[in-house]
Amino acid sequence: MQLEETLRHKRQEKDILLMTHIVLGYPSFETNRKVVSQMVENGVDCIEMQIPFSEPMADGPVILKANQDSLAFGTTVKECMAFGAEMAATHNIPFLFMTYYNIIYKYGEERFFKDCRAAKIQGLIVPDLSPEMGENFFTLATTYQVAPILIYAPTSTDKRMETLNNFADGFIYCVARRGVTGKKSSFDQDFDSYLARCTSATSLPIAVGFGIQDAEDVACLKGKADIAVIGSQTIRLVDEKGPEAVGPFIASLR
């Protein structure tokens, strides 16, 4: 409940919120630290931190490579947990973990939730875990008050959205289009009616992600969604121009 409230609160002050994404340990925790600062300073409202996994099935080439490089540098889940705690303690916005289910499963589900709770992580995005597969997970989420964020896709039926809504908390992550992260999306009429379906299927805030890359994209979402999610684009930016480029980029978005 805490995450939803925080976001609703912020939303009253802004016509759209920004959520960004980083891959932990890529290119280093040191850079992650700088990037997060730049983001927070330039008005990002929420950050999802991806714990790298060797098999990031739902991610596109940019994030995939970041996952692999981070692991090659030796990043561990424990370090990620500690880094998450540090960020949550340092910056006054909600932090989430994004990762694949095996990371949590191997860490131990309950231990993972306990540690997230302790680290003040407010939500979890696990793209390969549905309510059906995650019974225990969703129970623990309630117990430990870490929001399980669920995903709507353009292929989700109304009925499916309803089901998901019953398990979701914090906000609903609406995937803008088919495909993996990192490619441009187009916000056409189909998209609008999809978003309308999303909105009417939940009372939670609506985030839209996948392929949002610039101010124009963000502008498109104003009035239709609560949160715009910038994913691969900042990773690309850091790769090409270093962490300092992130601040101005974020500032330009809204």
Binding site: F53, S54, E55, P56, M57, A58, D59, G60, L64, K65, Q68, L71, T76, V77, Y100, Y101, N102, I103, Y105, K106, Y107, P127, D128, L129, S130, E132, M133, L150, I151, Y152, A153, P154, T155, S156, T157, R160, L164, V175, R178, G179, V180
Partner: protein, 409 residues
Amino acid sequence: MDTKGYFGNWGGAFIPEILHETFEQLKISYAAARKDPAFWQEYVDIMCSYSCRPTPLTYAENLTRHFGGAKIFIKREDLNHTGAHKANNVMGQGLLVKKMGKKRVIAETGAGQHGVATATMAAKFGFDCTVYMGEVDVKRQRPNVFWMEKMGATVIPVKDGSRTLKDAINEAFRDWVTNIDSTHYVFGTACGPAPFPEMVSWFQSIIGQEARKQIVASHGKLPAKVYACVGGGSNAMGIFQGFLDEQAVELIGVEAGGKGLQSGLHASRLCGTDATPGVAQGYKTMFLQNDEGQMLETHSVSAGLDYVGVSPILADLWEKKKVRFESATDDEVMETLDLTMKMEGIIPALESTHAFVQAFKEVPHLSPDDAIIINQSGRGDKDIFTIAHAFKDPSWQEFIIERAKEYEK
């Protein structure tokens, strides 16, 4: 399979939400097909007229004499069109795709056998076809790549991760989530999210159905033991299903022992102690992974067994002790291949040869009144580059060097 796609503690469907509907539809189509005897008949008919089912059960008289134990029978999946049991699965899924009205198929491939089989099926059914294949595998199985392309498929070398089968699977999923509406993902083995493990096993069960009838006809009774190699587990599931309900028939799955179970360079998930439960590639099974859940690199001389996971159905049978698991090392495989070629004039695929290794270890201790069946999942022709290389054949090396000179001009 329970309603959630589990077999005991294993299986399930850990998939991105975007695939949810596709899986719902697939489950419905599969259930309908499974209920409809006409579908199975159509499947059998196409396997008889396009491939050469029923494949023979060959009595290996010379090997039997050589080992002096039980009678050795070999189930000849190598005689399938495209040279392996993979044909069964792809033709079955092809029929299903036709019923679902999709026009494009994608597949992952390790050894290249499943890729060739899928490309072949796509040509036959008129589907567009893209095959994902780890870059390492592209290198070790180039002839298969050539044939896939010639059959009209697009082969995409996957350069991520360990650049082998598991990475090809990830990449195929990435394609699928992008092109769900038009595309069916022809999963190549009895792994992946439900309903794939069960569905692939169902199509492969034709092996066991035939083998059971054939052994009774040839030998007068059921076999004492049945051996199959286990990569993902589809050929093993295929033949085991013919005998699962028989207490008296021992089923043995043979995994890739690589350089040895102690070496860390292998792909043994169910025998040995290196694997632990995990969830990846859409399903829960025993994976070769580190303590944090990151998948490890695996090793086998045979690309088709070189995989981190294993069929959840086999994991369940393993846990319930209904199937025994063993492993064969690369060296044992080469030695057994040599013996089998020389004694029977039969060239098993490197994958299949793993099953032969374990069978040959045990057969001398069995009674001559008994019989065993080895499932020869494929033929070794496809492996010529690997086999000639492993045998360090000097005229082969010369030949390659000479050919290269022509191309370097």
